[in-house]
Assembly symmetry: C2
Homo-oligomer: 503 residues x 2
Amino acid sequence: MAKQKKQKKQPRPRALPPKGFRDYFGAEVREREEMLGRIRDVYELHGFEALETSAVETVEALGKFLPDVDRPNAGVFAWQEAEEEAEGAPKPGDWLALRYDMTAPLARVYAQFRNDLPTPYRRYAMGPVWRNEKPGPGRFRQFYQCDADTVGAPSVAADAEICAMLADTLEAVGIARGDYIVRINSRKVLNGVLDAVGVADEAMREGILRTIDKFDKVGEEGVRELLGKGRLDASGAFIDGVGLSPEQAEPVIAFLTARGKDGAATLANLAAAVGGSASGAEGVGELETIATLLEARGFGPDRIVIDPSVVRGLGYYTGPVFEAELTFDITDEKGRVRRFGSVAGGGRYDDLVKRFTGQSVPATGVSIGVDRLLAALRMKGRIGGGAARGPVVVTVMDRARMGDYMTMADELRAAGIRAEVYLGNPRNFGNQLKYADRRMAPVAVIQGEEEAARGVVQLKDLVLGAKIAESASLEEWKARPAQEEVAREDLVAGVRAILERQG
Amino acid sequence: MAKQKKQKKQPRPRALPPKGFRDYFGAEVREREEMLGRIRDVYELHGFEALETSAVETVEALGKFLPDVDRPNAGVFAWQEAEEEAEGAPKPGDWLALRYDMTAPLARVYAQFRNDLPTPYRRYAMGPVWRNEKPGPGRFRQFYQCDADTVGAPSVAADAEICAMLADTLEAVGIARGDYIVRINSRKVLNGVLDAVGVADEAMREGILRTIDKFDKVGEEGVRELLGKGRLDASGAFIDGVGLSPEQAEPVIAFLTARGKDGAATLANLAAAVGGSASGAEGVGELETIATLLEARGFGPDRIVIDPSVVRGLGYYTGPVFEAELTFDITDEKGRVRRFGSVAGGGRYDDLVKRFTGQSVPATGVSIGVDRLLAALRMKGRIGGGAARGPVVVTVMDRARMGDYMTMADELRAAGIRAEVYLGNPRNFGNQLKYADRRMAPVAVIQGEEEAARGVVQLKDLVLGAKIAESASLEEWKARPAQEEVAREDLVAGVRAILERQG
């Protein structure tokens, strides 16, 4: 943190955002807007409706469903309202908090408006969420989510629809088929396996969930150890195991590694893993239904697969769970090549609305990590590739003729061309051109006293000018001058010609 | 507030947002998006760049510049970070708060990035802001603002540009010329008048500012009384006056009422009102420059006028101030006809960045009240007029053929037609049609066993159906049946034909 050297009576405020927060400039904002616009189009096309809840909810409405509960600083940004006068006696104010996801507010909205909303209610929501976590490199405390959920549809056709829409969405924003995979699993099948091996204790079940969620990191043998007595981790520390016997652990491992050569083989392996559990058999049946629906619609295993190794840590899922992973490799900040990884996840959560109403309401949905997806698109060169083009800059040669310069900018704008007049101190013309460079202006418009008298303007091609400055030979310089004169009335046509030439 | 009747061990959370917060559904969200998109296009065309700061700032960075300081509950939503370990000793956490406007974060960003940003820096920002105020009917604690500011441009050409862009923006979103007026005044001129009458005391100056801001409400005579000894208000309470002598009050009144038959007359009146004050004369000169620039660009008094009765309460303005007012009449909730009133305001504030850096940085900008502007567009029937059209609903006659129904929806979507499959319990077909009605579906697609066997689908025109149900004679019913059969392969063409017929 920057510290003030001089101690003053009233120290100046630090010009910094709070730790873990950041600003987004120009193209960063536009690119996110554009991506969200594409996602919105897909969601709308599927009949989903926009919902925007406020950033602030009561703490009681949010509940305690925050993921990553094992991180120490996990939490929300919360504060208490001032106390109110209620019939004479002051009443303590409500605790309010910034939303940490879009699902908790959806449950509140559906409970509140359930008599007015259509059922099933398909809704999407896009916006920032806040987590009061320890910030770190690339880890921010405000970030965007983009969710789609269906509330009130008990059939897993709703889950299949969400998964297919997720695949469509990834392609719509620019992730090529083959560069992503949507993987589906079922919490019910896992519960069935745990029923079959006789684990009824809730805390133990949660421990198992957290353990198999580490499959990606520690592999099959690591999970086996952690399900049993425990293991030494890379740093040499001993991590306690969940305490399953080998006979109990093996069906869990069989579940995790059930993915076969095709969907039918996977389903057969899962059916074996759940043994005689009714809930487990139901889960396998649901996965089968999803697979059949997706196949009928032409969503093959190149886009969506059943993969029991996807677990997703969140405690509140009750049925199918799914995750979209980008499968191409990237080089991380430590120089290691690895898969890009997860950009979206979700599942069925049938109990969230019940908190409010007492009645179970089926629901399923997905959340896209907007910032990660944007990062992926940047890496693939789908956005941010070319240098952004700034506005045409009309320079100011004669301060008294500001109205004329403003009118030139007006004419360009009327033709749909971004344009602005230089509004700094015009005395130093070099500064005006430096400004135009910094703005990435494609063209500078120049009209001094002499040009005004002759009824012409000078148009400076700044893209060509930069190229010439870099490398041009004398011949090139002569052949393609980076500055040309046009009649004042041809201003727009002249600028447009240069813009077209620049491509 | 809804209270729970039964006292339970763990009472259910209330399904309500916090007081003063609300939710936005479907078309409300889309309409705001579209309006902001139009505004963004105008801002971009003028060379302004997007900036998105986080919702959260440190309290020290926000400072104390909240408008409406005379309201008792005025304030921000703030909380303190947990204390940190710093070299052994715990360090108290920063106070954080939700931003209450877009200007304070801009000042922080410009101070932070001043060496990397172009100067002048034109930026726009759109998003919610939060005020911890007492909520009331139509008064929310989260609302949208849409700002454009130019930082680092000392010339009032920047103010003129903002005012012209504001007029363009209002027309771009659908406010007709003649239905709005942008009014410009100068804080410098007012200060000049106060210099001329010998009021140096800051508190007294602020009192005068607040008083003349009530001109609209209490009229010339009311302001005269409030500048002097005080007055009885409508309720019979006596409001203390600022305490000016009549000789001091008259020039202030002359300033307030200086608007003449045209700009030149107004400027002459103002020049007289400031007497010998240098600051006042400078302010008048600035207004003259702005008037000249606007005239040169063709922005006549039908769009932008100099009007000294616009004051704007905010203390931090240092030069030109402006306000956009919608001039058409509306009937308010109490049945009274009144002007719609202000939808945007701003001005020059040259000292906000100085708080951080110690160096004065000129800045000017405008803030559009997004919700008020949306309300105006709704009243003028520019948005939300026609009934929103929902998606085509593919009904489910045969649960086992869900894949076929999903594929029908896919085909419609591939043709750009919003479509969804009914995902509730399909047993009761009447419920499916009720659902389609609630979704405002234009068409329902129906294919039972018998139709499937014959390779056809039924298309039900729900718009025509509703009309017929309301009023059709037998002849009409026969002539234009609201349901037709097409071959399965003509599904898309058939739906499209109905949509086109519906217009």
